[in-house]
């Protein structure tokens, strides 16, 4: 059986982490291709529901990353996000969702190397955790069990 290739979704802020990831590419730094990057204006706009939607559509791991505190293009987006993440992570853990599959980080536009290292380590961690089969899949999605046809 081919080795399990985890699907990782990364929600990143446009001004820092997305630029950082871009720098990773222009610096020819190789990193695991399992990540799919979704760009949002700010971590303040990265709604916690996006994380649930990602898992509900087949993701095995999620990365949420943005500007370091103090660097936010909108001044306070990442500060609010941090508080939300602190509460949301506790709720996910309490409900029994595997919080090891959700990674929060700050990656600035200059930290191309950190982005590569972050993605590689997340992919490695999630690969050991295996596919996230127990998370309920969204109805209508590829994760749905086959239909008993008329």
């Amino acid at each position: 059986m081919a080795e399990f290739e985890p699907k990782i979704i990364a929600f990143v802020c446009n001004w820092c982490t997305y630029a950082g990831a871009d720098l990773t590419g222009t610096s020819r730094i190789h990193y695991a291709p399992n990540v799919r990057v979704v760009r949002l204006p700010c971590t303040g706009r990265i709604d916690f529901m996006l994380i649930l939607q990602a898992f509900g559509q087949g993701a095995d791991g999620v990365i949420v990353s943005g500007c370091h505190p103090g660097d936010c293009h909108y001044t306070a987006g990442n500060f609010h996000a941090r508080r939300r993440w602190m509460l949301f992570r506790r709720l996910l853990d309490f409900v029994g969702i595997d919080v090891r599959r959700v990674t929060f980080s700050w990656v600035s536009a200059a930290e191309g190397a950190k982005w590569a290292e972050l993605v590689n380590s997340v992919v490695a961690d999630v690969r050991t955790l295996g596919p996230y089969e127990e998370f309920p899949q969204r109805l209508g999605g590829p994760g749905q069990k086959p239909l008993e046809v008329a």
Partner: protein, 289 residues
């Protein structure tokens, strides 16, 4: 991955919620955010068996977004296709508005009752419509005009907020040319453009100005609630009896077949006992529409 069997052909279908596939053969932009689709059934067998009457509606679906309820805007006298006109308002209509010619959408119907056009033979017909409510009236207009000799005078009073909001602009021009149709097109005060030659004023005011005579006349009246509320007294003053006035109600609908329970006005289901009602019937219903 499962192999997808195509849906069983119409005849075996017992699941009444599965739509027929229809292809968009022509898409026209009538007004800002208002489009008309001309649709043909993909399955020839369904096309052959399909028939409808003026006033009936259907559930038009965009797979993945849902279904929307519009009347069939074309006349039953025109074979081989149906038309629908809709305004982009919510999730489904926005998805519909993005569709191009050649795309496939779903259609369930025809549902609901009809305008009793055959009983109106030999009478004068007065059509009054406002804004996006012309489509449910237009299907009756063409039905009558395609059998023009069976009816006396045909008058059409149609108004919209602005000139750009008028739908079926080219058909309005056709009706204007015809000698056997009296047409008054109006725009709300302030909605006219410098080149505008039609009337200016709200539809109720224009009806008052035209002073249609009720004798031996059937009135078909559709428009936004405010227009209906202000036009009915005018017709009453002119002597129109509630039995002579027909309208079609627009309620939120999901199933279209009298099951999902939401489109009732009093004890009547608009999808089964309507959507076409006479004013006399509406007057007996509680004010729940």
């Amino acid at each position: 991955m499962t192999t997808f069997a195509t849906a069983p052909s119409a005849s075996q279908r017992r699941n009444l919620y599965t739509p027929h596939k229809m292809r968009i053969v022509k898409a026209t932009d009538e007004a800002p955010a208002v489009r008309t689709f001309q649709l043909q059934f993909v399955d020839a067998e369904v096309a052959a068996r399909f028939s409808f009457q003026a006033g009936q509606f259907g559930e038009y679906s965009v797979y993945g977004e849902g279904e929307s309820t519009f009347c069939i805007a074309s006349s039953p006298t025109r074979k081989g296709y149906i038309e629908c006109t809709f305004r982009q308002a919510g999730r489904v209509t926005s998805a519909l508005a993005d569709r191009q010619e050649g795309d496939i959408i779903g259609f369930r119907g025809p549902y609901g009752n009809t305008f009793p056009v055959e009983h109106w033979e030999g009478k004068k017909i007065l059509f009054i419509a406002g804004g996006i409510a012309l489509p449910p009236v237009r299907c009756v207009i063409w039905n009558v005009l395609d059998l023009r000799d069976r009816y006396q005078d045909v008058s059409i009073i149609y108004g919209a907020r602005t000139v750009a909001d008028l739908v079926y602009k080219h058909e309005l021009a056709d009706w204007d040319q015809r000698s056997d149709v009296n047409l008054w097109v109006t725009v709300d005060p302030g909605g006219q453009t410098p080149e505008w030659t039609g009337k200016v004023g709200f539809v109720p005011a224009i009806v008052e100005e035209v002073k249609p005579r009720p004798a031996d006349t059937i009135a078909v009246l559709c428009g936004p609630p405010i227009m209906i509320k202000l036009t009915l007294p005018v017709l009453a003053k002119l002597g129109f009896a509630p039995e002579q006035i027909y309208t079609t109600l627009e309620n939120r609908m999901k199933c279209g077949v009298g099951k999902c329970g939401r489109c009732n006005v009093g004890k009547l289901f608009v999808c089964k006992d309507g959507p076409v009602f006479t004013l006399a019937q509406l007057n007996e219903l509680p004010p729940e529409y």
